[in-house]
């Protein structure tokens, strides 16, 4: 690990200013991804600004919805009564990720900030445009089994590995950000992460020095019928090959409103509005679900080793929708 200066400011603004004034400084929250990447020399900050003791841990009702602090731990968030009752999709998504130990460490803001698990990104002996812009993408023609089938570029085919953000996207959440001088802005989760395009080194639209302070969840009508389905290489403690966050609001036997967000298939959580349009206004039947799943995967462009994700994605969508309707937790 490269040597770094460790500081622990007591105030939010102080922390922001410290990172803003040093281009190679980074915020340290749970550290479950950053410390790992530092050990691999993928991340080499000259200064770590420990923000874990800042007062950004509250989970509370706000504006008809719920505001969750950026530094609340994943465990606290998933288990908070307000989240469990009103946003079970978020609880399920968080609990589908990592292990109990990691969820006890990981924060909500840090979860959004986690970087790809592309093996070439982690291996500093290999070219990677995300790690070293301009060196090329090793995954494009390499072993790309876990990589993207949507929205990639010839510069990068990596996927965003998280679960929480997929649920947050389906729940129309907003990310509250504080910048230098304390000015705030809100970015919808759907616009927080980016597609790789020509600049895969940028995972998201946060500027250097900006700090996530909370995540705002608006009132949701999906609490009764939602489901987070995660398909992975083993039953637990693995990243998603394909994940599906679905939310349904029904009226009688018809679907009034829906959300389908896929994880593990693109550089950001991947929503299929086309598939939702197939569902909206239609009766709740397996046939409708199948049609939606076909539409959701229609534009997919699998790479050499990940064509399986297309069929897996279709089946996962149908299953997730069925479980959402039957409100089955497992």
């Amino acid at each position: 690990m490269k040597s770094f200066k460790y500081v622990r400011p007591a105030e939010v603004l102080n922390a922001i200013q410290t990172v803003s004034s040093n281009p190679t400084a980074k915020f340290l929250a749970g550290g479950t991804n950053l410390i790992d990447l530092m050990k691999e020399y993928v991340e080499r900050p000259s200064e770590l600004v420990d923000i874990t003791r800042l007062n950004l841990t509250q989970i509370k009702s706000a504006n008809g919805g719920v505001s969750i602090g950026a530094l609340a731990k994943n465990t606290e968030t998933a288990n908070h009564p307000l989240v469990r009752q009103n946003y079970p999709l978020l609880t399920q998504a968080i609990l589908a990720g990592a292990s109990a130990q990691l969820r006890n460490m990981a924060t909500n803001g840090g979860n959004l900030m986690q970087r790809t698990r592309c093996q070439y990104f982690y291996d500093i002996a290999m070219p990677c445009n995300k790690r070293e812009p301009g060196t090329g993408c090793s995954a494009l023609e390499g072993i790309n089994r876990i990589h993207a089938i949507f929205g990639y570029s010839d510069k990068c085919v990596a996927t965003y590995p998280g679960d929480m953000a997929n649920a947050l996207y389906a729940l129309d959440a907003m990310v509250r950000i504080k910048g230098i001088n304390g000015q705030e802005r809100l970015i919808p989760v759907k616009e927080f992460h980016r597609l790789p395009g020509e600049t895969p080194e940028k995972d998201n639209n946060l500027q250097h020095g900006e700090l996530i302070t909370s995540i705002e969840l608006p009132k949701s009508n999906f609490a009764e019928k939602s489901y987070y389905l995660k398909i992975r290489d083993r039953a637990s403690y693995a990243f998603a090959l394909v994940a599906v966050a679905v939310g349904l609001e029904t009226s009688g036997s018809n679907i009034k409103q829906s959300r389908i967000v896929l994880g593990g298939v693109a550089h950001k959580p991947w929503r299929s509005i086309e598939a939702e349009n197939v569902l909206n206004g239609k009766p709740v039947t397996e046939e409708t679900f199948r049609l939606a799943s076909e539409i959701a995967m229609k534009e997919s462009k699998p790479l050499r080793h990940n064509a399986y994700k297309v069929e897996l994605g279709k089946r996962a969508i149908v299953l997730a929708l069925q479980r959402a309707i039957s409100n089955r937790a497992a």
Partner: protein
């Protein structure tokens, strides 16, 4: 002072040096320059099975410390350790102050600085759970925790689970139900399992919890629940059935039958007879 501190964490160490240990220590000339207390400590550490490597590390540290007065030595120290951070923390009930490089993980601080080698380094990248310890009542991975972030925190390692000679019920259950083979993942499994009991009492949900929308406390965990909740601890020997049985017994608070036993002398004798019979045939 450091010697004394380290002593507190290792009450099990015998203070007497054997003749062999004295002989071994006298063969390291640098150490003979150092105080008797330190020699004793090193001897005990050595005797407790820390091994030659740790002895060398400790000796190196001691030599550097003794050179501290000269400018060269200060320079040498700085070359080894950068961005020193002073951290006060409570480990297994005892308060410790460490001065260490900001890069030192909690796992390395426990093992290399405090000689608490019960906590194991498996993958060192958050994928195996061998390094699991309990910080402020929560199980975490010490390999991904910077010691610098632990100021004022309470840490429980596997060494802190037992009460003197009395094993923690989870330790006893692991032995009873054969919850390990090689034992390398066991300290992490134990810390994880102990914390899991509290999580179930708190009513915390897992991915396998069916009715997770309600906040019931004192959850009764199925075997599937325990497997999911322990998925962050990998056991290469595959002792999982024993681990689940052990946790289930402590969780239920009701004794369950051991599903294995040692073979009896009679059975061994019978086995030998059979083998001989085989040979004749």
């Amino acid at each position: 002072m450091e010697t004394e501190l380290d002593y507190e964490l290792h009450p099990e160490l015998n203070t007497a040096l054997s003749e062999d240990e004295k002989e071994l220590l006298s063969q390291i000339p640098e150490l003979t320059e150092l105080g008797e207390g330190r020699r004793k400590f090193l001897g005990q550490v050595f005797a407790s099975g820390l091994g030659v490597f740790a002895l060398q590390l400790l000796a190196q540290e001691e030599i550097l410390a003794s050179m501290k007065a000269s400018e060269d030595a200060v320079f040498a120290l700085e070359a080894l350790e950068e961005n020193l951070v002073a951290v006060k923390l409570k480990i297994n009930g005892l308060e410790k102050t460490l001065n260490l490089d900001s890069r030192v993980s909690l796992l390395d601080a426990l093992r290399e600085r405090l000689a608490l080698t019960g906590t194991k380094k498996g993958c060192d990248q958050g994928q195996c759970g061998a390094c699991t310890v309990i910080v402020n009542g929560r199980r975490v991975l010490s390999c991904l925790t910077l010691t610098a972030t632990c100021e004022g925190k309470e840490i429980t390692t596997v060494e802190g689970l037992a009460r003197g000679e009395e094993l923690h019920p989870m330790q006893a259950a692991f032995i009873k139900h054969d919850g390990f083979q090689c034992g390398y993942c066991t300290p992490g499994q134990l810390c994880s399992a102990v914390a899991l009991l509290q999580e179930a009492k708190n009513g915390e949900a897992s991915h396998a919890t069916v009715s997770f929308q309600t906040n019931a406390r004192n959850l009764k965990l199925s075997d599937e629940e325990i497997r999911e909740r322990m998925s962050g601890n990998i056991c290469r020997c595959g002792a999982y059935p024993g681990i689940v049985a052990a946790i289930q017994e402590v969780h239920k608070g009701k004794e369950t039958a051991q599903t294995w036993r040692f073979v009896s002398n009679e059975e061994i004798a019978a086995l030998n007879l059979e083998e001989k019979t085989d040979e004749i045939v």
